[in-house]
């Protein structure tokens, strides 16, 4: 069965510092992989997604993620964090058989300090 693990519940970084949020998945084949962000009072917004091809994917707001099959990971990175990046980040796995549902991790809350 599909599952997603985000081992970090809460991360605090200084503004301008680099960021890496971890995501590990369990799936029988290469899954569809997603990162969503949720700002307070907002819905989940798609940051980026991986389906196939280049394992380094670029997203919105300067984020990128790298798919590593050998580690079953899809970590999210940003070279320089801005205060507006403070939010909850969710990694998700999509079924490749055509079903619609996404499987989410528990989320990582990012706090950005001046």
């Amino acid at each position: 069965a599909q599952s997603v693990t985000q081992p970090d519940i809460h991360i605090t970084v200084s503004e301008g510092a680099s960021l890496e949020l971890r995501c590990n998945y369990s799936y029988g084949a290469t899954p569809y992989l997603f990162w969503y962000v949720q700002s307070p009072g907002q819905g989940l917004q798609l940051l980026l997604k991986y389906f196939s091809g280049d394992t380094l994917v670029q997203g919105i707001k300067g984020f990128e993620a790298e798919f590593k099959r050998s580690q079953s990971s899809f970590n999210l990175r940003k070279p320089s964090v801005h205060w507006s990046d403070a939010a909850e980040y969710f990694c998700a796995v999509g079924d490749t058989t055509g079903a619609n549902n996404l499987f989410f991790g528990t989320g990582t809350r990012l706090t950005v300090i001046p």
């Binding site: 997603v4 569809y32 969503y36 009072g41 907002q42 819905g43 989940l44 917004q45 798609l46 997604k49 389906f51 969710f90 998700a92 999509g94 079924d95 490749t96 055509g98 079903a99 619609n100 549902n101 996404l102 499987f103 989410f104 991790g105 528990t106 989320g107």
Partner: protein, 115 residues
């Protein structure tokens, strides 16, 4: 930019009462979803809906739950006889096409508190 909206933002109800959570998906989208997140836990898939019928549902989505598209714009989740463990954030989402590779656009959620 079109967005998914949900009402109310927060619903408080007594155990055993029925609640209806409302969602307005993006107008040209054809697939609709409900997810929930119990505090501190994962966002969990409940159900997907297409062409006026349920497309997929999880084991969470039992007879206590039902979904409906009563008109051309709203998509509702009804929970009959609410239980304490139904307290959660409920997210509605919509997508243009089927398949998880199609971006699902999420609403801001309704926080349901069952007392």
């Amino acid at each position: 930019e079109p967005e998914v909206t949900q009402t109310p933002s927060h619903q408080v109800t007594q155990m055993g009462q029925e609640v209806i959570l409302r969602c307005v998906p993006i107008s040209n989208h054809l697939y609709f979803y409900w997810y929930r997140q119990i505090l501190g836990q994962k966002v969990e898939f409940l159900v997907s809906f297409y062409n006026n019928e349920i497309s997929e549902k999880s084991e969470i989505f039992d007879d206590q739950f039902s979904v409906e598209r009563p008109d051309g714009s709203n998509f509702t989740l009804k929970i009959r006889s609410t239980k304490l463990e139904d307290s959660a954030m409920y997210f509605c989402a919509s997508s243009v096409q089927r398949g998880s590779y199609n971006e699902q656009f999420f609403g801001p959620g309704t926080r349901l508190t069952v007392l």
